[in-house]
Subunit: 415 residues, 2 copies
């Protein structure tokens, strides 16, 4: 059998496109409509996706409340409660939620995810983030964002405690940031342990992933970027005694697909024209962790940037693209605002499948985290057009073979 | 219409009786069987209970791992994930979970409960606890349990922040223990705000409840104890500008009910004889927050106790009963181990209804939190025998009239 691509369905309220809420078919209160999410989860499960993926940020998500209220990104379920509800409305699909190592305690987090894992019969995963946003910090008593290196040092110890608890470690942990005495009050996971997902792409983020991740979610615009990241991360694993296949690298992709290419382009343009310049620039500013981008001429180039303590890798990606393509602030803003820095493919099912296949077979990805521009429309389009095409090519399963998320992903069961 | 009694169904794995797991009909892995909980929730909803109630403790629940493994109390879902799953398997019943003010942050907790509230269409409640167990403290990096007064000071500020966030407070909080800048990333609750439940019964616990609680869960053996607590708590409310009816006081009750009294007594004895003495004494020790009770003759009286930083009110209740009834350590242990310090009624539906009615109409309770000795047996018995008897007497609803937990409880909607 040909190697099988892994697919995640990254759910996010109205949709991943920044202007999704302005789409004529938008469901503006989707973020708090459990019926909407149940429908999306069932669509993804019927299409045999490996997993549903949810992001999380405990605060107002965009750069400020004004922007948030302009994007309707500001409302949505807390993801653990959401995925627990979806666990009993689905039977096979994996359920992955983001949670922060900066604003949780490892005993509580390990317990909650293991509980979700038992609830779902072994389908849970945790996407570890260190929370790069100063907005969240301000809601957790912090006077500012902690330095990148400190966040990752805490994350490394946090992950060690959590996996120790999941693996049934009997003795206590007494470390730099945490001390935990007891084992968890739950038996071992039906899949051995919940799946560990990570998305940090900085040097220290990659090392943490190489050491502990089962799945890595990442952003890459070009094949070369994706391939370089893939080779670098897989290359780091041997130092931790791991095989390259022990991590599945799944870059984000935001496909806009239709029966014809012209129709797909039209669907895409329909959303692009709905992005207000000030929202685009504000969102770009937040990715760059700078506050005064609006001071620069919108049709001029990106200014030189100060060193950031935010998302280092995201910042580098934006700067790289701005130089490569000679884009103005307005063009960059519109480009990044749409798919939020992720790879976008606009075309027919065959064209989208070609692109995915090229990265998959070219050794730049083990699968993809699919980020539909708006829900349910683009998820439906991917499920009904692209998935059958991938199945025809022998690149994606026609049915689930196992019962757990580890089974779907082809990951070893921890001993 | 006669005043209506409020009823909670306190769910707990195999059952509330300490020896429930040894019962011949016990479902020993009930704590991680979501099908079991769905069945219990539907039974309670069909019987028109106001709410399901879940306790929580982030650690091994009994005095030590040895005891825990002897009681099968050591395993169970984390309650937020559990109730989120139950939210989409039920339609009307309230969903109340315990969560600690000592091991959470107010922004995260407020957000999670409001998310559950939206998931369930306005049926969520939070049972605030300060976590009196040193076992939990040891899993959250603490070198010991914080003093009672400090825990309650943190809890008071925690509750203030959480209710502020639920009530849509726009400006930030900057206090002693917490600083929180943003509003929540969720709109107002379908019921105005989740219901606030409390169970602290010490002086400072009562004041916190009088100030902020919508529901109070409590333990009282006798009518006099229940009445004294009820009058005291309602009497404290005026100082905070509240009406007595703004809090529903719901003591715990563990009924053992059957068609005949003899049959009920037999069912009860069947469980009582299954309590091993060492487990009973260890559990009694943990209620009394002392470690060396086993040194004293088991058939002798309770020794003088040192001042405790644990559950002050529970300790006083045990000491009071030991003196009143002249009970030995063995007798006390067996008495308290069975219903864990709560009121027990053994008899026919009419006898149980008589007792509940007397406390309800005597001004000692607004309703009861029902703690079945084992599941599903005793919940089924209460639902099929006692509930219809209460309905015949006009003391309990025959159907839900509203849609939210506040509707069921007859609580004002916060403005």
């Amino acid at each position: 059998m040909t190697a099988q691509m892994k697919l995640g369905a990254f759910l996010w309220a109205t949709g991943h496109h920044i202007a999704a809420w302005r789409h004529p078919k938008a469901h503006v209160t989707a973020g708090i409509d459990i019926g909407h999410y149940i429908q999306l989860a069932r669509t993804a499960e019927a299409a045999k996706f490996d997993m549903i993926f949810c992001e999380d940020a405990a605060g107002l998500r965009e750069a400020n409340v004004g922007i948030a209220s302009q994007t309707s990104r500001s409302i949505g379920f807390e993801p653990i409660s959401l995925l627990s509800a979806l666990a009993v409305q689905t039977g096979r699909i994996g359920l992955v939620s983001t949670a922060s190592t900066s604003y949780n305690e490892p005993y509580g987090l390990a317990r909650t995810f293991l509980s979700l894992d038992h609830l779902s019969g072994g389908r849970a995963g945790w996407n570890l983030v260190t929370s790069a946003s100063p907005i969240e910090a301000a809601n957790f008593g912090s006077t500012g964002l902690k330095p990148h290196a400190d966040r990752y040092e805490r994350a490394r110890e946090f992950a060690e405690v959590v996996t120790g608890l999941w693996h049934g470690k009997a003795s206590g942990h007494d470390g730099q940031s945490f001390s935990v005495r007891d084992p968890l009050d739950l038996p071992r996971s039906p899949q051995g342990a919940p799946v560990m997902v990570q998305a940090g792409a900085s040097d220290v983020g990659r090392d943490l992933a190489a050491r502990t991740a089962d799945v890595v979610f990442t952003a890459a615009q070009t094949f070369e970027e994706a391939k370089a990241f893939y080779d670098d991360l897989k290359g780091r694993m041997a130092a931790y005694g791991r095989e390259p296949d022990d991590i599945k690298i799944m870059p984000g992709v935001s496909p806009v697909v239709a029966e014809t290419e012209a129709e797909a382009r039209e669907k895409h343009e329909e959303l692009q024209v709905l992005i207000p310049d000030d929202v685009g620039v504000a969102l770009l500013s937040s990715y760059l962790s700078i506050s005064d981008l609006w001071r620069y001429p919108i049709d001029g180039p990106l200014p030189e940037l100060p060193e950031s303590e935010g998302m280092k890798s995201r910042q580098a990606l934006v700067v790289e693209q701005s130089r490569r393509d000679g884009l103005s602030i307005r063009q960059l803003a519109r480009h990044f605002a749409g798919a939020r820095g992720h790879w976008r493919i606009v075309g027919t099912a065959a064209q989208v499948a070609d692109e995915l296949q090229a990265r998959f077979e070219g050794g730049a990805a083990d699968g993809f985290n699919v980020m539909p521009s708006y829900f349910p429309g683009e998820l439906d389009a991917f499920a009904t057009l692209v998935v059958p095409e991938l199945q025809r090519r022998g690149l994606f399963r026609r049915d689930y073979e196992g019962r757990t998320l580890r089974d779907h992903l082809g990951l070893k069961r921890p001993v």
